[in-house]
Amino acid sequence: MNPRLDSAPLGVAVRISRIDWDAMSQDEGRRLREFGLMEGIEVTPLHRGSLFSRDPLALSVGRMQVIIRARQAAMIEVAPTAP
């Protein structure tokens, strides 16, 4: 299984290789795309969780920073960026 965004190390840029669109609701999927989270895009996970929770996840997409939940991040497969 490919690594997923929810367990990707912080501060390291990765490329989104696949998103399991069918596993999420239509609205969720659309909002992800509106944030620019799609196949082929480079993202950097920046901050994860607070206190005892692993949620949420803050990441940078282009010039923007967005917050999503770990549940959605788990549907996003990532690969190392091309060197």
Partner: protein, 623 residues
């Protein structure tokens, strides 16, 4: 040209600066803050072209596309597509984009341009783009998009004249043009690809700048340190509400006492003198005294909103909010509810999930709003010693206040947990939110917003609080007690007798006649509890010089036990003593069902909390 006044809509991604632009063009004072989802309603205003022709400008909630995810975004779509009841489709669109985030903002811009309406793009926040090391070419952007592009800095009022001229031109030239052919909408991926390509083409140079904001976030969003900072900020806020307001409160009190003295000397004893001294100055004045505290609280909230910290707080709170079935998104309306639940409840429109939103509305009144401050301060000032905790710089009074706020928050979380498992059952809410860049608060904006709040508070004091207090004064002054009666004037009056009836119900939880008297008028607004106590005491004191000289808190100390005072505080943590909140809940939930539910559960909680507090305190010998 048609004679009709053209309607121009400001539209774009959340936090792009639409409301800032709207305010700059119309002179309005719409709320502006540095987080997505501030504007949740359509708002119209007047502006004029350079030659004086009028136009109607419409500010809209921010949205990422024409497909809405939350109720506020639905408003934007309806207005743009002309589906809003009784509204024409706007004659022109000003698409506001963030120059420092074109990749993303151009997607919605492209979708809007494809509607084929006369359109101008405002390339806003150009100053931030420069700060980030970006140089953009508006001419290239305009060529790629096929519409005029005008650089603007909304908060500095730059580029406004050019923008209006471009809008005028777009409307004129559009009439001779055939409307754009409607091609099938491109896929999201294609749209984004195109947006990125255009952004790249329009970017002349890009120097990477190392920003301090990344380092700030590393601390502020740290899983443990960040959370402690959030707690510390809130703690400082409540200490500040006490520590910094003491002097200005003293001045206002002094001013009111001087006025009372002047009226006392100028008017003969009688109806008018009593009304002015006891009812107006004593009653309403006792509420106005709290203006400094309310302003300090608002200053804190405004600073959190303007800097961009609000979204960070939402990030930090999401873990806890998720445990009770809500999302970090809901934390923002809840934090605004510290100021007032009414805008807080309105702000829930930005929450996508309906059940998540409903739950947030229902618990918003549990956040300690500024109207409770006068009540809390009066009782704390009278019954909690003004000392420091164990020699530390932490004041005991501030600590108790913090505790009351915390009780409200914990109560809200527990209620949310129950509601999400019962009446507001649903799938777990998601949390997806854009995190804005940090900005320095602009002094002018903060000052204007503070002034607005001060004005709202004074207007409340002059209207609803004034009227209820005067009505209460009349009901307390008549019928006049016969001189041979052993009863006091307050007990003998109409209001006193009604209170005696209510006292039967609230006596078990330790409430006395004073409190029973204050509770009913305080339904109109919580602060009235304070003015009611003040008025009743002023009447009771009558012409007794010694009693007159005592402050309200001194008089309360002599009449209430500590257990009663604590029970009264506990009551106010929960009780839904605010007509406006009930009204806005009815409006936002489209019916009476939920406001009635809210009032019912809150009164039940208030009764239980006050009772438990009283009985516990009595058991500890504080009765």
């Amino acid at each position: 040209m048609t004679a009709a006044i053209p309607t121009i809509a400001l539209v774009g991604n959340p936090n792009a600066g639409k409301s800032s632009l709207f305010n700059a063009l119309t002179g309005a004072r719409q709320k502006i803050a540095n987080y997505p989802g501030v504007t949740v309603e359509r708002k119209a205003g007047h502006a004029s072209f350079a030659d004086g022709r009028p136009m109607s400008l419409v500010d809209l909630p921010g949205s990422y596309s024409l497909t809405p995810a939350s109720p506020d975004e639905a408003v934007t779509r309806d207005v743009l597509l002309g589906r809003q009841a009784g509204e024409r489709q706007p004659d022109a669109l000003v698409v506001v984009v963030d120059a420092a985030n074109l990749d993303n903002h151009l997607c919605f811009a492209l979708e809007l341009i494809a509607l084929g309406r006369p359109t101008v793009v405002a390339l806003n926040m150009l100053d931030l783009a420069t700060r980030d090391g970006l140089t953009l070419d508006p001419a290239i952007l305009s060529r790629e998009l096929g519409v005029p592009v005008v650089p603007t800095v909304a908060v500095r009022k730059r580029g406004l004249a050019d923008l209006l001229a471009a809008v005028d031109g777009a409307i004129l030239s559009h009439q001779t043009q055939a409307s754009a052919p409607s091609a099938p909408p491109p896929s999201d991926a294609a749209l984004h690809q195109r947006a990125r390509a255009i952004a790249r083409a329009a970017t002349v140079s890009e120097t990477p700048v190392r920003r301090w904001t990344g380092r700030v976030d590393a601390i502020v969003l740290h899983p443990v340190a960040g959370f402690l900072i959030l707690l510390a900020l809130m703690f400082v806020m409540f200490q500040g509400v006490y520590a910094w307001s003491e002097a200005p409160i003293g001045w206002i009190e002094g001013g009111i006492a001087a006025l009372q003295g002047a009226v006392d000397a100028a008017l003969p004893d009688g109806f008018l003198r009593g009304l002015i001294i006891e009812g107006i100055l004593g009653g309403v004045g006792s509420v106005i005294v709290f203006l400094p505290q309310i302003l300090i609280l608002f200053l804190f909230i405004l600073l959190l909103e303007a800097t961009g910290y609000m979204t960070r707080a939402a990030f930090l709170m999401d873990g806890i909010m998720a445990k009770v079935g809500l999302s970090g998104r809901g934390f923002i309306p809840l934090l605004s509810s510290f100021a007032c639940a009414v805008p807080g409840i309105m702000a829930t429109r930005a929450i996508p999930d309906a059940k998540d939103r409903l739950t947030t509305i229902l618990i918003a009144p549990l956040m300690t709003c500024s109207a409770r401050l006068p009540v809390y301060t009066l009782i704390i000032g009278a019954f909690i010693p003004n000392s420091n905790v164990g020699g530390s710089p932490v004041g005991l009074q501030g600590l108790v206040l913090f505790g009351l706020y915390l009780s409200g928050i914990v109560g809200a979380l527990v209620v949310a947990l129950v509601l999400r498992r019962t009446v507001a059952k649903g799938t777990a809410a998601g949390f997806m939110m854009e995190m804005p860049r940090y900005q320095w608060p602009r002094l002018r904006d903060v000052a204007i917003a503070l002034w607005q709040r001060a004005w709202i508070f004074l207007r409340r004091a002059g209207t609803i609080i004034f009227v209820t207090t005067i009505a209460l004064w009349l009901l307390l002054s008549y019928p006049t007690v016969p001189t041979d009666s052993s009863e006091s004037q307050v007990d003998y009056s109409v209001a006193g007798r009604i209170a005696s009836g209510l006292e039967v119900v609230v006596a078990p939880i330790g409430f006395n006649h004073d409190i029973a008297l204050a509770l009913i008028p305080a339904m109109a607004a919580r602060e009235v509890a304070v003015s009611a106590l003040a008025t009743a005491n002023a009447i009771e004191a009558g012409d007794d010089e010694e009693a007159m000289a005592q402050s309200l808190s001194e008089r309360l100390q002599g009449r209430w036990s500590i257990a009663t005072a604590l029970a009264f505080l506990a009551w106010f943590v929960f009780a839904p003593q605010c007509i406006s909140t009930i009204a806005i809940t009815k409006r936002e939930t489209n019916g009476w069902k939920w406001p009635l539910f809210m009032v019912g559960y809150l009164f039940a909680l208030a009764y239980a909390a006050a009772g438990i507090t009283y009985w516990t305190a009595v058991a500890f010998g504080l009765g």
